[in-house]
Structure formats: C-alpha cells, structure tokens
C-alpha cells in the first residue's frame, strides 16, 4: 500500500478523534483544574501504550496473514460504515453537524454538578476511548507491513501533537475544524480498504490488482454523493 495513503488516512482519522478528546480535556481543565485533566490524560495514554504494545505484536506473531486480512478487513468495513453513514446523515440534514462549542458547554455544565473523581474519570475515558479508535486504525493499517506501520503511526502521532499544541495555545474548543468533510474522507478510505482486504483474504481475484482499490474508492464516493443528493431531495419534499 502507498505509505502516503496510510499516513494520510490515519492522520485525518486521528486528528478527528483527538479533537473530540481535547474538547473534553479542556472542559475538565477549566472546571476541575489542569492537574486532574493532565493526570487523567497521562494515565489514559499510558494504558493505551501498554495495550497497543501487547496487542500489535501478538496479532502479527500468532495469527496467519490471510485470517488477519479477513478479520481486519471486516473490522475496517464496519468502522468505515459507521463513519461514512454518520457523515452522509449530517450532509443530508438528518443529523445535526457536530458542534464542538456546544459539546464543550455541555461538558462543563455536567462537570460542575460533580466532584473531582468524576472529572478525572471523564478525561480518562475520553482520551482512552478516542485513543483506542486511533490505535485500532493504526494497527489494522499496518498488519504484515512494517514500513506502513511507521507511516500510519507517524500520521497518528503528528495529528496528536498538532491537536495537543493547538489546544495548549488556543485553550478553546476547535469549532472551525471541518469535521464532517474529514469524517466523510476517513469513512470512504476505511470502507474501501476494508472491502479490498477482506475480499483479498476471502480469495477474491481483483481485476486490476492493487489498482482496483482506486475503483472501489470511486464507487463508494459516487454512491455516497448520490445518497446525500437523494436524501436532501426527500427532506426538501417533506
């Protein structure tokens, strides 16, 4: 696989996940104090490093590549459907666009009603959960290809660093990130790779070898755009 594609996809996906985590960590920092927020973040990151450090090599060592291709392909396909249909719902007006300012305000309101332990748990859970999604994407993109792992991990780390530095400088939620457009792209990429890999694992002979992936991407883009247009028209008629 082209390393730029792996790095780029994990970069966009990770940036989105880290933006959501950063919104919650910022809310905790402002209401319960930065010590709680940063300790919870550090603890969650430590758990993540241990989890991925154990999970990644274990997968590569003990599971045959073909089985791994099927399992990971299915995983990516499911993940891709989740991201893509959410983006389609948002573009077609069925679901409200994610508003980081509103999410931030709601989080602060919730935190004010609870004590310190709740604040720690909130920041810890947010970083762990969003980080876990990033870890899954990085691991699945890297199976059987060490070179790709470096690019995928690099993309995620750069995204994490960018979001962390921006959060420290801005000290405000990221309300201007085009989240839905990024979610749409990530959904298409995850779904396309998932389809391609699971097919390969199942013994499907793709017509144009690896180039078929490009056709799969184009098909999903065309289908998604048609769905958005159709849904918008249905909404307008109602």
């Amino acid at each position: 696989m082209n390393p730029w594609v792996a790095g780029g996809t994990t970069f966009i996906a990770s940036a989105l996940e880290f933006v959501e985590a950063a919104t919650i960590v910022l809310a905790v920092g402002y209401t319960a104090g930065w010590r709680v927020a940063l300790t919870a973040t550090a603890c969650a990151l430590a758990v993540l490093v241990v989890l991925t450090g154990l999970l990644g090599p274990a997968l590569l060592l003990y599971v045959p590549l073909r089985d791994l291709q099927i399992a990971i392909g299915i995983f990516l396909t499911l993940f891709g459907y989740t991201w893509l249909r959410k983006a389609i719902w948002r573009y077609s007006g069925r679901k409200a666009l994610r508003d980081e300012d509103a999410a931030y305000a709601a989080e602060i309101e919730e935190l004010r009603r609870h004590e310190q332990r709740f604040a720690f748990a909130t920041a810890f859970n947010a970083v762990l959960l969003e980080g876990l999604e990033v870890a899954i994407i990085v691991i699945t993109f890297s199976v059987g290809r060490f070179g790709t792992f470096v690019w995928a991990l690099g993309g995620a780390l750069i995204a994490g660093l960018l979001v962390a530095v921006s959060a420290a400088l801005l000290r405000a939620p990221f309300s201007r990130v085009p989240e839905n457009a990024m979610g749409f792209i990530v959904g298409i990429m995850l779904l396309s790779f998932g389809t391609f890999w699971s097919g390969e694992g199942l013994g499907v002979q793709w017509w144009y070898g690896e180039t078929t992936l490009l056709w799969i991407v184009l098909l999903y883009v065309a289908c998604s755009l048609l769905l958005i247009i159709a849904r918008k028209q249905t909404q307008a008629v109602r």
């Binding site: 099927i70 299915i74 995983f75 396909t77 499911l78 993940f79 459907y81 989740t82 893509l84 249909r85 959410k86 389609i88 719902w89 069925r94 679901k95 959960l129 876990l132 999604e133 779904l191 389809t195 699971s198 097919g199 199942l202 013994g203 499907v204 002979q205 793709w206 017509w207 078929t212 799969i216 098909l219 999903y220 289908c223 998604s224 769905l227 849904r231």
Partner: protein, 58 residues
C-alpha cells in the same frame, strides 16, 4: 459489550448482516464466477451502505 458494539458498528443492525451476506456469497460463488465474484462482493457491500443510511439516526 454494548459500548464496544457502538464503537465499532455504530449500533447498526444492517451492516453486520450485509457483511455476512457478502462473505457467504463470495465464498460460495468463488469457484463458479471466477473474477466476477469481486463485483458481486462490492455490489453487496454498496447495497449495505445504502441500507445502513436508511436506519434510524443514532
């Protein structure tokens, strides 16, 4: 368990069923259709996408 399902499949009922149908078809028709099985596989997954967007908004 429920949270894990929400994280991975977004609480969708349609997507796991669609993927299962695509896999079963690919495995059974592989010998019969040759290279065309790829087209069937992608077509089923595309239909799953269409069906998934028709589910209630989560």
């Amino acid at each position: 368990m429920r949270n894990a399902y929400k994280l991975i499949a977004g609480n969708s009922v349609v997507t796991p069923i669609g993927i299962a149908i695509a896999i079963i078809l690919a495995m059974t028709l592989r010998g019969l259709l040759g290279q065309w099985v790829g087209a069937v596989y992608v077509a089923v997954l595309l239909c799953t996408l269409v069906a998934a967007t028709m589910e209630p908004v989560q």
